[in-house]
């Protein structure tokens, strides 16, 4: 089962695993409330949005591309939710995801048809999505029905719906990435597009697929976020782009593509969420928190990027 390249990729998740364990042990030993079921429930609730958006980003990175528009897509999804839930109910969710896919396809079209560098193309998409979001919802507001909240986040047990969603979605994508021909084609395209082409993998098709997936997952993250804040916010997602990239890199996904495992990404998401919780529970200086996050980001870069990145990037 865990044979071949899968094993090599699993090893890349090790640092994220160690970091997660360290944080858990450290916080649990110093704060009695950390392991309370209410706190664990809070943590799974926070893992949910970041987990979804980081998953999409990780898949794009595995294919050797990058998507800097995921944060704005999240914002767009919260706006769509806030504006339409009251009139169309749960249909707002597929609508938001459709918008996310649309944004992803737009990026992919620029990358494939116009051969624009993925980094810039996704920046351009980000600008456009941000503009559209601000036109739809110029200020935080709107209303997302409390029913959704009750379904997802009510209750103080960590064994709730959010955990189920995280397990199902990550489980599906881990299988997809490691054990299907579709997953292989993503790794192949990210590893060496020319060689992949000779194996019958069209990098255009992979681009289309990964950007669409990343758009959909970012929108899903936005949906969860809007339910959590019971409203829409045109700028709320922006900060998530960086967190998503950090989580993917910390989780061992190689920026140049072809390497990494989604289990590592999930662990990295958990550790990013834990950092905030740890600082709050241990009543550490909040200024240090920003610095700690920055240091972890730089450390991840140093560990994972060192020597792997080519001369020009």
């Amino acid at each position: 089962m865990l044979n071949g390249s899968i094993r090599f990729n699993l090893l890349l998740a090790l640092p994220a695993l160690i970091l997660t364990i360290l944080l858990v042990v450290f916080t649990a030993s110093l704060s009695s409330s950390f392991l309370s079921s209410a706190n664990l429930a809070n943590l799974t609730n926070r893992v949910l949005p970041l987990g979804m958006v980081a998953l999409g980003e990780a898949i794009v990175l595995m294919a050797g591309r990058i998507d800097l528009s995921v944060g704005t897509i999240m914002s767009l999804a919260t706006a769509i939710m806030a504006l339409t839930v009251s009139s169309i109910g749960w249909l707002a969710i597929p609508l938001a995801m459709l918008a996310g896919v649309g944004a992803g396809l737009f990026t992919a079209a620029g990358v494939i048809l116009l051969r624009i560098n993925p980094l810039v193309m996704s920046l351009a998409t980000a600008a456009i999505v941000k503009g559209v979001t601000l036109l739809l919802l110029p200020k935080p507001g709107g209303q997302v029905s409390y029913d959704f909240y009750a379904l997802l986040f009510e209750g103080e047990s960590p064994l709730g719906v959010p955990l189920l969603i995280v397990i199902l979605v990550y489980g599906a994508f881990i299988l997809l990435a490691g054990w299907t021909r579709f997953g292989r084609s993503i790794y192949a395209a990210g590893s060496d597009p020319r060689a992949a082409f000779a194996h019958g993998v069209s990098s255009a098709r992979v681009d289309l697929q990964v950007y669409a997936l990343s758009g959909a997952l970012a929108a899903l993250a936005g949906v969860f976020l809007s339910i959590r804040i019971l409203s829409g916010d045109p700028l709320i997602g922006d900060a998530y782009t960086l967190d998503a990239v950090s989580a993917a890199i910390l989780g061992g996904i190689a920026l140049k593509g072809g390497r990494g495992n989604l289990i590592g990404v999930l662990l990295a998401v958990i550790s990013l969420v834990l950092i905030n919780n740890t600082f709050n529970l241990l009543q550490l200086d909040t200024n240090l928190q920003a610095i700690a996050k920055g240091l972890i980001f730089v450390a991840a870069l140093v560990f994972f990027m060192r020597g792997k990145a080519g001369d020009a990037d």
Binding site: G110, L114, R115, I116, N117, L119, V120, M121, L123, A124, T125, A126, A127, I128, V129, K130, G131, V132, T133, L134, L135, P138, L242, V245, I249, L255, N287, A290, I291, G294, F297, V298, L301, V302, M305, R306, G307, A309, D311, A312, D313
Partner: protein, 323 residues
């Protein structure tokens, strides 16, 4: 002497604007016409006055274009310009006597940012866009921590002449500074050995090193140039606003990339068009004016900006393919 004639011809040849520059210029002219039709008034003086206000973006874009020439990206220019704004106001403290001190500290901070970016890229081999992203995070965080959220000091009115004053009443000082930056960087990149070494180091640092070029050093220097350009942009911006605010320059990161790309900068590196990217900065600026004139909501600015980036790159790529 014959060689000097020959040299002059070669220099002129090198100075001939590239098609990308001409394309950007054409776009600018079209834009000005639209602006004229929409607002019913466009005078030479007004254009110069807009250039005066576009100078910070223009100079920051020149730095970004240099990094793009090296096949890299600097995502910290906005944060660096913001840092310059905060540091300048703090060190100036509203007193013209502090000018030398304030300028040297501000430029020094800018240079340090460049060195840090360069070292992250060269010594730790972190891809430039991630390294500069990390730097911008650190800068934003540090600014917040140091100022506690409320930056201090102010820019004395006398200093604000550099953005408000006009040389002999015909040319704004900030435009002169901008033109000087264009000339200086053009000279460096196209007419000097260090510029040539920089170009080679950017294109293939490994090959450059194996051919005896101190590639790492050239890359660090280019990041210092970019950060200094961002700092100068931040200083000009400070002179316009007169005070320090947090996050005031954030938009410059994406704007500078957009302007450079519109002006013909190429992502793979190897191209440096100082005039083209400066026109790109002007285009962005006039687009904003246009949106203001036709009173579209501010959000459309983002859409137009994204659209222009895609359009400019699409045009450039389609042209290259058909060549």
């Amino acid at each position: 002497m014959q060689t000097s004639v020959q040299n002059a011809v070669l220099i002129l040849e090198k100075l001939r604007p590239s098609t990308a520059t001409l394309r950007a210029f054409g776009l600018l002219v079209v834009l000005l016409c639209v602006l004229f039709v929409a607002s019913g008034q466009v005078s030479g003086h007004q254009i110069l006055d807009n250039m005066r206000q576009a100078a910070p973006l223009g100079i920051i874009t020149l730095g970004q274009a240099l990094i793009l020439m090296m096949g890299r990206l600097d995502l910290s220019v906005g944060a660096t310009a913001g840092l310059a704004n905060v540091v300048l106001a703090m060190t100036f403290a509203g007193n013209m006597d502090n000018m030398a001190y304030a300028l040297s500290i501000t430029l020094g901070c800018g240079a340090l940012v460049g060195v840090a970016n360069g070292l992250l890229v060269v010594a730790l081999r972190i891809p430039a866009f991630l390294a500069t992203l990390a730097t911008s995070l650190v800068l934003t965080g540090t600014t917040l921590v140091v100022t506690g959220g409320s930056p201090r000091g102010s820019i004395p009115a006398e200093f604000r002449v550099i953005t408000e004053g006009w040389f002999l009443g015909v040319l704004p000082y900030s435009v002169i500074l901008w033109l000087a930056a264009i000339a200086g960087l053009t000279l460096l990149v196209h007419f000097t050995m260090p510029g040539r070494r920089m170009l080679l180091a950017g294109a293939n640092s490994r090959a450059a090193r194996l051919n005896g070029i101190a590639a790492g050093r050239m890359i660090v220097i280019s990041f210092v140039f970019s950060s200094l350009a961002a700092t100068i942009g931040g200083i000009l911006l400070s002179a316009i606003t007169g005070m320090a605010s947090i996050g005031i320059a954030d938009a410059y990161t994406v704007d500078s990339i957009a302007a450079a790309v519109i002006g013909g900068a190429v992502f793979g590196g190897g191209v440096f068009l100082a005039a083209g990217v400066s026109i790109g900065a002007l285009i962005l600026f006039f687009v904003q004016s246009l949106l203001y004139v036709v009173s579209l909501p501010p959000a459309t600015r983002f859409i137009v900006q994204g659209g222009i980036i895609v359009l400019a790159l699409a045009l450039a790529n389609i042209r290259r393919k058909s060549d």
